[in-house]
Symmetry: C2
Subunit: 518 residues, 2 copies
Amino acid sequence: MSEDRLIVFDTTLRDGEQSPGASMNLAEKLEIAHALADLGVDVIEAGFPIASPGDFEAVQAIAQEVEGPVICGLARCNPDDIDRAWEAVRDSARPRIHVFLATSAIHREFKLKMDKGEIVRRAVEGVQRARGYCDNIEFSPEDAARTELDFLAEVVERAIEAGATTVNIPDTVGYAMPSQYAAAIRHLKQTVRGIGNVVISVHCHDDLGLAVANSLAALTEGARQVECTINGLGERAGNCALEEIVMAVRTRGDYFGLKTGINTRRLYPTSRLVSRVTGIGVQRNKAIVGQNAFAHEAGIHQDGMLKERTTYEIMNPEEVGLPRTELVLGKHSGRHALRQRVRDLGYHLDDAQLQRVFEGFKALADRKKNIYDADIEALAEAQIHEGPALWTLESFHSSAGTGTMPTAGVCLRHADGHKAQDAACGDGPVDAVFKTIERITGVTVHVRDYQVRSVTVGEDAQGEASIEAEHNGRIFRGRAVSTDILEASAMAFVEAINRTALRRQPRLNPQAETVAAT
Amino acid sequence: MSEDRLIVFDTTLRDGEQSPGASMNLAEKLEIAHALADLGVDVIEAGFPIASPGDFEAVQAIAQEVEGPVICGLARCNPDDIDRAWEAVRDSARPRIHVFLATSAIHREFKLKMDKGEIVRRAVEGVQRARGYCDNIEFSPEDAARTELDFLAEVVERAIEAGATTVNIPDTVGYAMPSQYAAAIRHLKQTVRGIGNVVISVHCHDDLGLAVANSLAALTEGARQVECTINGLGERAGNCALEEIVMAVRTRGDYFGLKTGINTRRLYPTSRLVSRVTGIGVQRNKAIVGQNAFAHEAGIHQDGMLKERTTYEIMNPEEVGLPRTELVLGKHSGRHALRQRVRDLGYHLDDAQLQRVFEGFKALADRKKNIYDADIEALAEAQIHEGPALWTLESFHSSAGTGTMPTAGVCLRHADGHKAQDAACGDGPVDAVFKTIERITGVTVHVRDYQVRSVTVGEDAQGEASIEAEHNGRIFRGRAVSTDILEASAMAFVEAINRTALRRQPRLNPQAETVAAT
């Protein structure tokens, strides 16, 4: 790649998915991977294949299906991890293995219990083993930003000798200051033999709100790959937000002189998709993709008062794909228009799924005058979230009011065909519905979070109910949309209950485990 | 103040309140001002007094009531603004007037239609007039970061000669890069006569995600006041987040060598208070105060696995006031314990309000086993939100279910004593309730946003309904809490309807208006 090309490495599916509450199923991960390819990212870190069979399966499916970007799998510096990562990514036209090993004193002492010599030996062995499989190898000295500079330079140099083609310098805990981080990159650039032949990458966390600033500072010293996530998802306060770094580099092209391969008009739709799939929203005052990012208190209804847009706006909302209006389709819109809109919104559905969306669309158009993007998103979401449904909501009734006891009656259909119905009281109508469903299914959960939000506006608005329920120490999510929020709540609760039956095997977290003895 | 003391200037009530959807009433502003004083901010920018009678009244009430911080009012560089700002803040023991005037070429040409000479003249006159009232004067050249450096230096120097004691260098549109912004501060520090005798301040916006980084970069060049807001609220993508800059300066004390007067243990409660009062939430992956900021995917239930906390955490959650557990009070807790808890949560209620909270608490404790912080917050909120209620919910009933038409019956009591009841159908039970209330009150609104979220956890969780409704081009919010979300929705809708009756006069936005001719 040329000197002025910035490689965008997206880790929404790996570091982003490690956010508490953000875990995704296979279909959801594939959906996001396709959207990232449409967005134009250069590398997709698809997961940590050894973490669980589900993680492996997702990385492999993405490697097989998603064309365009490099598909990367994460591995600790040990043979099992690396072999498994290679198995997962080998079907991609452009596979990469990403091996990592912590190098900071605190990680050496407390997590790994290894001395410097041992760290170097393991790093070299890991990179060499990975290189035996594949030409595209990234090496990360974890917690690099807190590692002694001389030792960091030594490890990086040895990893390059061993065959690493990208060296990533992570600020794993979000501790760095931009000038210090830039100085570290400069030091490596000046002292490490062979560094001119590899790509220097950065991976910053936002614990002090500096992930984007640290990444940008590194670019001015020659880093040419940035690791980031949609909406800045990731462990703790998250990673560098893709949309922010991309728009900073673009808006301040005069300063950075860099280009990315990102189609910026896909930024907003991709942000929406990720926030809907993960259930982790974006705050209103979030840069680039927040609801207020391009809105002014006085400006909303008073655009005409601003004599020149650029007095208060340094970016054009259309540049990031913010829709001018969300009203798109009506009763008479055809299948082709719907297919195109689904695609524009970032969904990749097959013909059978599209057919179901179309049927849902026609049914909705009978009830609703205006069909908004959010309505279509809800219909498309229902396709990708769909798992094997043990129980399905057949019908419900609920009654509540001042001075009366809230009651609900629910009828569920089991996958084996039989129907079951029951009734219960509750603190409110929603609680009554939940208690009835628990009574029918025999599964009791602890509701940790329950939310309803209008996904469209107007008289015939649809509400989306989302539930986070705990069952045997694990979290299960459920979501559903309806014009009746009680119905949406019932369907979401049934979905969460269904998911408890599909409980996956325990899963490794790359940061919680030491390297297995070789 | 000593060289190593950083002045924290909070503008949540001015720039933060300019966020679309964040406008607050008098009681809400007072509540936040008290919380900011508890937090230990040095300066509270309480508002823009000339914007509307409501804004004036809020700044004046804060100046009269809130002790400790400097109370500051914003004014454009014209006599009316400055006179009004002085009237509003003069009752404070420590008043400040903050005058501003745009200096960048684009603002001069398109917004102000003034040449450089005219800008300097107006700035000097403005500062002089303000200085005639008060010794503590801040001057801001708006859009300083896009202003020619030489002209900026000239304006700043003339403002200092005219009597400004703090000069603020705003990056109004969030365009600056940290190294450039630092260079601008350095240039001013080196070239402006008299700058050693005043405080240099920074005010950064987050359009490219760099508000905190830019502010920090300026500190290394000698800026000693930072303008910021709780949760980073503010126009568009918002301002520098107070909690982030304070914790960056504290966590990296080795780098900055600066101290603030902030009691960091009040950061989390203050963030919660502001997000509840404004209705603008904080995203899960927000630094410092987000729900995930101190949570690890693997770590939540596996703390024991981390051999040393600092391997992945650079701050201690207790340092920012994150509660270990939210379960605090039960049925037998007394008035004193409740009063203390209300205070710890950041509320400043008078005895009558506390009495009503206590009564609500006792009633709730009869229905709920465990009373959480969020329950108490909801009770306290109800006190500060309370406005003159034209209509009150007397009773309601609602019925919905598969294949039946959702219906609701509602009875409201008018302030004049009469009761009115009616019924309506809807797309769902909530819609039926809303339609009934519109029918009774005769007020029709357009619901722009409707949300319900559980504010506590467990079987007996309470739900908070919040509504954003548009009426004659203005936005009105309503919120209410109940274990029955239909009841909460009905009360929130009635609150929004009541607020339409109290429509305030039109209000100026400092950024949307040119300077009135003098």
